[in-house]
């Protein structure tokens, strides 16, 4: 309990400081001025989301190899966190694009990849919702998850090749090259802050899923004991007595 409170305080402080840094410490960007500051949350959310999706794939592989329930739980927790990060990325992108470029959306390689990633993992979660048997759900969504992850590099490469053929305005104009050192440091701080939010979120969701399964196990154990103790007369089963 104490660690949770301490942890929350640390993360909250980190986020507040990161926000402050993004808004006040980071120098003003030459062309885009204030609106560019979205970049400090847009980029970290993309990084966390991609990391989360990698965790999903690893969890899927681990589940298929070991059949241990916790890997399936980790997979769904990571997928949900990843989708959140992806959604934030997709929402902040247009918020930036509109004032800067006058358009809400542009089909540049990175944005398109993010959109398809979002679609893929939302489909993953939808698939899980539509499969009822838990073992089958875990196995089949693991297979789909692996296919989805294999698709990600293909999506990115095809988009890059495509966009070099049809150049478009690049939203994060030149952010990779010649980044002012202060900006770089603020960005790093924001990445750490966003991870600081996402990782506990992931762990909590994972724990929730594990608890759900534990509850099911306990219920089974109770049922088993009640049918065991007096199978001939137990009303719970209502089955045959020979």
């Amino acid at each position: 309990m104490k660690t949770r409170i301490a942890g929350t305080v640390v993360v909250a402080a980190l986020v507040i400081f990161a926000g402050y840094a993004a808004l006040y410490i980071a120098p003003d960007e030459r062309t885009m001025h204030e609106i560019q500051r979205i970049f400090y949350f847009h980029v970290p959310s993309w990084i966390t989301s991609f990391t989360a999706f990698t965790v999903v794939c690893l969890a899927n592989v681990a589940y298929l190899l070991t059949r241990q329930q916790r890997w399936d739980s980790l997979g769904v927790a990571a997928a949900e966190v990843g989708v959140i990060g992806c959604t934030i990325g997709l929402l902040t992108g247009p918020l930036w694009a509109r004032p800067v470029w006058g358009v809400w959306w542009t089909w540049d390689a990175r944005l398109t990849t993010t959109f398809i990633l979002w679609l893929l993992y939302v489909s993953y979660l939808l698939l899980r919702g539509l499969l009822e048997d838990p073992e089958r759900r875990a196995t089949l969504s693991a297979v789909f998850g692996i296919f989805a992850y294999l698709d990600v590099p293909l999506v990115y490469v095809s988009n890059r090749l495509w966009r070099t053929q049809h150049p478009q305005p690049v939203i994060l104009g030149g952010q990779g090259s010649g980044l002012n050192p202060t900006m770089a440091r603020v960005l790093l701080l924001c990445v750490v802050a966003v991870f600081g939010i996402m990782i506990p979120l992931l762990l909590d969701r994972y724990r929730l899923e594990c608890l759900r399964h534990e509850l099911d196990e306990l219920r089974l154990a109770v049922e088993a004991r009640s049918t065991n103790s007096d199978s001939a007369l137990s009303p719970a089963t209502g089955k045959d007595r020979s």
Partner: protein, 224 residues
């Protein structure tokens, strides 16, 4: 029994079943044609626009028609649980999957054989001189579609709302394939037709990646 031989036997079975009823083939062809025709109503393209956007339209028509056609692949086996019989037989799971992939490939290719000339006529696109290379692009693209589609047909066979689920799962995964196939087709239909090596290799790569993944994961698809 070798996987290839078992897949061949199962392919014959799938073909025999389909040609007896022909329901899948007819519906797929008509549906794709409807998409092609509706496009001209929706966009009323000039000849120049037709050439530019035509390949995109063609591949979207294949993608939609294909993803609808793939659903019955495994759903068909559910009425009498014939899949149980296949799984009990001494054939590998991959053979079962491969048999269906090959059958789907043939069905979709037949639909394409009908559609491509129709498309060429309706949109005044000349295919002379590029037929061979166009066939290569069509084959590689269709392979990618049926490989992933057959796998997802198995994945969605046990889910609720499976008719809707299959396109939902399939279309995002196929986004790279769509881009590659369209670009390759566009460069073949340009004034100076050229077989774009990059995109063609990409298509082949896509097919290999997902065929390998299917082979590795096939047992998980059909187990209970």
């Amino acid at each position: 029994m070798s996987t290839a031989r078992a897949a061949a036997i199962l392919l014959t079975k799938e073909l025999r079943l389909e040609f007896r009823t022909r329901e899948l083939l007819n519906t797929t062809i008509i549906f794709a044609m409807v998409v092609v025709v509706l496009f001209s109503f929706a966009f009323n393209p000039t000849p120049e626009e037709s050439r530019r956007y035509g390949p995109g339209l063609l591949w979207i028509a294949f993608l939609f028609a294909g993803s609808l056609m793939l659903h019955p692949s495994f759903a068909r086996e559910q009425s009498n649980q014939t899949l149980d019989a296949l799984r009990m037989a001494p054939v590998s799971t991959f053979a079962i999957l491969l048999g269906k992939m090959l059958a789907n490939f043939i069905f979709l290719s037949l639909a394409e054989v009908v559609l491509v000339p129709v498309f060429a006529v309706l949109y005044n696109v000349s295919l002379a001189g590029v037929i061979g290379r166009l066939i290569l692009v069509l084959v590689l693209g269709t392979l990618g579609l049926v490989i992933t589609g057959t796998v997802f047909s198995a994945v969605s066979a046990h889910a609720r709302m499976r008719e809707l689920l299959l396109p939902l799962l399939l279309l995002p995964i196929l986004a790279p394939l769509l881009i590659a196939a369209v670009e390759a087709t566009v460069s073949l239909l340009a004034d100076e037709p050229v077989l774009d090596r990059t995109w063609t290799t990409f298509l082949a790569g896509f097919d290999i990646v997902f065929l390998s993944a299917s082979w590795l994961l096939c047992d998980f698809l059909l187990e209970e």
